[in-house]
Symmetry: C2
Subunit: 152 residues, 2 copies
DNA sequence: GCCAACCGGTTTCTTGTGAAACCATCGGCG
DNA sequence: CGCCGATGGTTTCACAAGAAACCGGTTGGC
């Protein structure tokens, strides 16, 4: 098969996915930065805490799929900015409970509409069924990648 | 609308896309590194040059969607490893013509089957029509992102 | 022809990242 | 109890990434 002999980068899925994701991230990052002075890791932490309930750091790590170093640094910056509060968990002195401060919730309330608007703009031109399928496909790819990664 | 008040990170497209792409990149990067000692930027350069014809650096920059610094560094490493040749273009002394060396083609021939195999494994469980749709959707998202990014 | 703006590519510098080392605390087992 | 391995989180270190400065080389206008 000629497929085996060469590879067109532009049709190679990991490449396409990576380039697209990076491009989108750049656009969003620029917006968050310009309007709110937040990086993407910071925004992700806020997004999780914005759901309402305070959470231990560990839960934030899982929910954001970022490693603990990244989360630790993002949280430190958010605390410095007064957007997040950090208190040690009473039942385990090592663990910390994170929550948005009043100011944090205020900012969160401003970001969410922007995020939704950007996402809407990005997906304009795509039908609901296409987006639903995209969701499933991403889920499948992610699961497969995890699986391949974990067994090597 | 309650949509405007909160945002579930796990259903937020840029997040999903970014996490999935990163996870896949990690898996591929590990394979390339382990078996061939290549980083992803290096692999991308080789993939483009593997198409056959020698190309100026500028063309590689465009085809890989990486910035010139990244390409410059990747090429330097590839030349050091003897996988790529670099000669100054006769018609413009500033520009360089890049090509795979014999050894480079040899390695390329080994990588391509692995890349195809990994991609096949990754997309196992997805139908051809789903993959075709994914392609179109990624294309659309990428185009939109470029558009949004360029006008701000 | 010559100077200035431009362009291809590299180097420098600052910053973000993740691995590994680290510190404090916790839980289990002798 | 009291040690010892495991766990939550931070810090250190080495390195990749991108912005901006830089260095030839080129081109266009006078």
């Amino acid at each position: 098969m000629s497929e085996a002999a060469s590879l067109e980068l532009g049709r190679f899925l990991p490449y396409r996915l990576s380039v697209t994701a990076e491009c989108i991230s750049r656009v969003f990052a620029e917006s968050y930065e310009r309007r709110f002075g937040l990086t993407i890791p910071e925004w992700r932490v806020m997004a999780v805490l914005g759901e309402g309930a305070p959470r231990p750091t560990q839960a934030v790590i899982e929910a954001t799929e970022m490693d603990r170093v990244k989360v630790s640094r993002a949280v430190t910056r958010l605390v410095d900015k007064g957007l997040v509060t950090r208190r040690t968990a009473p039942e385990d002195q090592r663990s910390q409970i994170l929550a948005l401060s009043r100011k944090g919730f205020g900012l969160y309330g401003q970001i969410v509409p922007l995020a939704h608007a950007l996402q809407a703009e990005l997906t304009a031109g795509l039908g609901a069924e296409e987006l639903a399928l995209l969701d499933r496909v991403l889920e499948s790819l992610h699961a497969k990648a995890r699986e391949i990664g974990s067994r090597s």
